[in-house]
């Protein structure tokens, strides 16, 4: 709608857009520059992006609440968006392709919608561990033969790890409403864990060099490392099912450039865009109408764990706090 007054520039389709848009995204320079270029070409709208971690985006959007700088927040696990939604930081928007998104892939109120999905997997060093030996399911990680072979990213600061840990608790919690069993499981995992790495790079490095051989992580990253960066990594989708994170996009409340923002929102989740993201950047689309996806997506069967993300969001802080204070063995990590 052309309700905006003033400075909008006429684009090819005759709609009024602001001439600029600000995107906050953790997707990194490569993706962002590519989409900036394509979007600018098509709409003649100047794209500016800030590239930073999703937690940082949340902090920042929160801190800019009185004076929003960003229009679009592209890329973060749905839990982050849920939090932002609860704090009233987002504007609902229902995209034109709403029909192609399964229910789990968007907010019921359309405060956010999913752009890609991230299954969590067990990852192993393919030089040290053969495909046969590798653990096939979550519970196999507790086997004593993996003692001091597991290196995992320190979970509190990592959305991925929080999701995995919470899922482990949730497996029992959804029936019993009691996290005790899940805590017990995590305790055993802790016993096998050699080290919690502070950031992903350290974890990759250590697993690649064989300081440990097993980890748990997000599947697209593992594929990317293996294919793009020559890491000796393979992954296994746990047989009993795995949590699948949804990464999404949302519009910031009181954004200075709302029209242009909507255009961008649409633009980055067209089927072509989704295909590009899958092929070049190892992102699994949420839309069900994307054709010609690469084989690592089509060939992998993902058994998705059935998760009520609401419960997750409500409890995961407490669970993680409990883990941090009571389960994590403080002495263990200082073993050297």
């Amino acid at each position: 709608g052309g309700s905006e007054k003033g400075s909008g520039s006429e684009n090819k389709e005759g709609k009024d857009f602001e001439d600029k848009i600000v995107v906050y995204s953790p997707h990194g320079k490569d993706i962002l520059s590519k989409f900036e270029q394509q979007f600018e070409e098509k709409y003649n709208i100047d794209v500016e992006w800030l590239d930073m971690g999703s937690q940082e985006i949340l902090d920042r959007v929160r801190s800019e609440k009185n004076n929003p700088q960003a229009d679009v927040w592209w890329g973060a696990p749905s839990t982050n968006f849920d939090q932002a939604k609860d704090e009233g930081l987002l504007t609902p928007y229902e995209p034109t392709y709403a029909d192609s998104l399964a229910d789990g892939f968007h907010d019921p109120d359309w405060n956010w919608s999913g752009t890609s999905q991230t299954p969590e997997v067990i990852m192993y060093n393919s030089k040290k561990v053969s495909a046969d030996e590798a653990p096939k399911d979550w519970d196999e990680l507790l086997d004593s033969k993996w003692k001091d072979e597991i290196i995992i990213r320190y979970p509190l600061a990592s959305g991925t790890m929080r999701t995995i840990f919470s899922a482990m608790i949730y497996r029992d919690f959804k029936d019993s409403n009691d996290p005790a069993k899940g805590y017990e499981w995590l305790e055993k995992l802790d016993a096998n864990t050699k080290e919690y790495s502070a950031n992903p790079e350290m974890m990759y490095n250590k697993v690649a060099k064989g300081e440990g051989t097993i980890s748990v992580w997000a599947m697209p990253d593992v594929v990317m490392l293996k294919e793009n960066k020559n890491y000796p990594f393979e992954f296994i989708i746990p047989e009993s099912g795995t949590p699948v994170l949804t990464e999404g996009i949302a519009l910031v409340k009181d954004a200075p450039h709302p029209k242009a923002a909507e255009a961008f929102y649409e633009f980055v989740n067209t089927p072509e865009a989704a295909k590009l993201l899958a092929e070049e950047f190892y992102r699994i689309p949420t839309r069900d109408d994307v054709e010609g996806l690469p084989s690592w997506i089509t060939d992998t069967e993902i058994k998705s764990m059935d998760i009520d993300w609401k419960v997750f969001q409500e409890n995961s802080d407490e669970w993680m706090k409990h883990w941090d204070e009571n389960i994590k063995n403080g002495d263990k990590e200082i073993k050297e």
Binding site: L50, M202, K229, E336
Partner: protein, 563 residues
């Protein structure tokens, strides 16, 4: 009415200092304090109660760990920094200029990349342990860093520079005839150092100890990267924040500040017991000639080897930057070297923008630090007024609080118009970042200048004033030139830290002023270790050039007041 002009002058100097401190330090910090008073049951001390009575005692454990790691860090940094300063300032040998500048390079290490360089060097799969293992055909790596020892090593490595710089500035100010007198009374080299030189350096050592203690208390990267699970207070704050417990985070921050400030008060008490003004008659500064050639070359060799070790992480970063992505994953040693990473970097037409931003931001902030710091320090050391202790504490708060907390404080304070921002919203503008750098590094300049002023005999200022020089003239022409080395030490540190500053930058930067540290972080987040390292190298080179230039330009001036 003021009693007299001298008091009035003190007041005139005090007003701007207080204004800045209240606006940009106290007011934002109060926000944190208020936050910590929020409990589920309303306003109260509940969070503090929780902190101490918490069942799992993780907070207390973290507090204890932080304190003892910080104390050990102070010790370790002093043990490296003071002797190096001594060697490089008391002995002349070929290449002294180069090595003494190289000795401050650890501070140039970009924080995240730097700690990673350490892992690549000394970790279980690191270059050094494996090289030794292969060289001597051992079955196991002989050593590796991690946990507390790792934290300490990294702390000592990056923080000894505070000792090195402040002590270097102070050591030249010591009247050599004092050491001569001690020798003459029969004290050997060692006991002269311990009983005379070292105590006379107290102001400098106190300054450095404070800086190091507080920065270790608030240190983040090292405990986080090297001992992921090890509890220290700064990490607890970070995790509380991530977990969304802002009140708890605030409470922990306040407690951390209280510990740091107690240390400050203790050090102040310690220093004030004695007098360090070299008030001996006339100018005794005949440069001491005593030199024992064997000792000298021993020390010199130690110094040079020390500097080489100190530069190893930089070489590692250089190495990393020359290894293309994906060729050094499972291999123990890298095998492919080229400039691919640099090529990729320089393909970006905007490559120099963050560099430029960082330089401009740091320059603005540091200029502010210089003016403000020198003024404040002068007030603190040479003027008498009520509430000095309070100002002293205010000055140190930005150092006592973790950088993220400072960043958040500024956000709280300036995301709405206030008188302190002249009615503007600062968050989201260019100016918030230089302001943050400025606030963060106030203590650096103030402390190092304090150390220099503490040694200055008052009658020098009196002489100038009795010759008719107004206060400001005296200050410019007499005091400033004499304390210049100390001021420069602090200013350079502030500049270098600003260029590398990450925690506040990430909270406050905007599109128009994205600094270099953010760029490195983003490369890392995209797993481009090589390009991150290449960027790190650019940062290192940049800072090295700045140091070199300032050394050449100011060095000449500072030299004069050293003789």
């Amino acid at each position: 009415m003021m009693k007299n002009r001298d008091h009035r002058l003190t007041l005139w100097l005090l007003i701007p200092v207080l204004l800045v401190l209240i606006a940009y330090v106290l007011y934002p910090s109060l926000r944190t304090f208020l936050e910590s008073m929020n409990t589920k049951e309303g306003v109260g001390l509940g969070n503090y109660e929780d902190f101490f009575t918490q069942e799992s005692k993780t907070n207390l454990e973290a507090l204890w760990n932080s304190v003892y790691i910080s104390l050990l860090s102070v010790l370790a940094s002093a043990i490296i920094g003071v002797p190096l300063a001594f060697i490089f300032n008391r002995y002349d040998f070929p290449g002294r200029g180069f090595f003494s500048t190289a000795a401050i390079m650890p501070i140039v290490l970009p924080s995240l990349v730097g700690v990673m360089a350490f892992m690549f060097l000394y970790g279980e799969t690191g270059l050094v342990p494996n090289a030794i293992k292969d060289l001597f055909h051992l079955d196991e790596v002989p050593f590796k860093i991690g946990g507390v020892s790792g934290i300490l090593i990294v702390h000592a490595y990056t923080m000894y520079v505070y000792f090195y710089m402040t002590v270097s500035a102070a050591i030249n100010k010591i009247d050599p005839s004092l050491e001569e007198a001690a020798h003459n009374l029969g004290a050997g080299r060692f006991s002269v150092f311990w009983k005379v030189t070292f105590p006379l350096l107290t102001p400098a050592i106190v300054a450095a100890s404070l800086l190091v203690f507080m920065i270790s208390m608030a240190s983040f990267s090292a405990p986080f990267l090297l001992a992921g699970g090890f509890r220290v207070l700064s990490l607890q704050i970070y995790f509380s924040k991530i977990n969304g417990d802002m009140e708890v985070a605030a409470t922990q921050s306040v407690i951390l500040s209280i510990v740091s400030i107690s240390f400050l008060l203790f050090m102040r008490w310690y220093q004030n017991r004695k007098d360090y003004r070299m008030a001996s008659k006339g100018i005794g500064a005949h440069r001491s000639e005593v030199k024992n050639p064997f000792m000298k070359w021993m020390l010199v060799a130690t110094g040079i080897i020390g500097v080489l070790i100190l530069l190893l992480p930089h070489f590692t970063i250089l190495l990393l930057s020359l290894v293309p992505d994906g060729t050094w994953t499972w291999q123990t040693y890298p095998s492919v070297f080229n400039v691919e990473n640099y090529r990729l970097l320089f393909e970006d037409p905007n490559i120099f923008k963050p560099l430029k931003n960082s330089l401009i931001l740091s320059f603005i902030a540091t200029a502010g630090n210089l003016v403000f710091g020198v003024l404040t320090s002068y007030l603190l050391v040479k003027r008498r007024f009520v509430g000095k202790g309070f100002v002293d504490v205010l000055v140190m708060i930005p150092w006592a609080l973790p950088a993220t907390v400072i960043g958040m404080n500024l956000i709280f304070a300036f995301n709405e118009p206030s008188i302190f921002s002249f009615g503007n919203i600062l968050v989201g503008t260019f100016w918030i970042l230089p302001l943050a750098y400025f606030v963060r590094h106030i203590p650096l300049v103030v402390r190092s200048t304090n150390a220099a002023l503490e040694q200055l005999d008052d009658s020098i200022e009196e002489a100038a004033r009795s010759l008719g020089a107004k206060w400001f003239y005296t200050f410019r022409k007499v005091i400033l030139p004499i304390i210049m080395p100390g001021v420069l030490a602090g200013t350079l540190l502030a500049f270098v830290e600003s260029v590398g500053e990450f925690p506040t930058s990430v909270l406050l930067y905007t599109i128009s002023n994205r600094p270099i540290s953010i760029e490195i972080m983003n490369q890392l987040r995209m797993f481009n270790m090589g390009q991150a390292a290449a960027y790190g190298m650019i940062q290192i080179t940049l800072i090295a050039v700045v140091l070199l230039i300032s050394n050449k330009v100011f060095g000449v001036k500072a030299e004069k007041s050293l003789s």
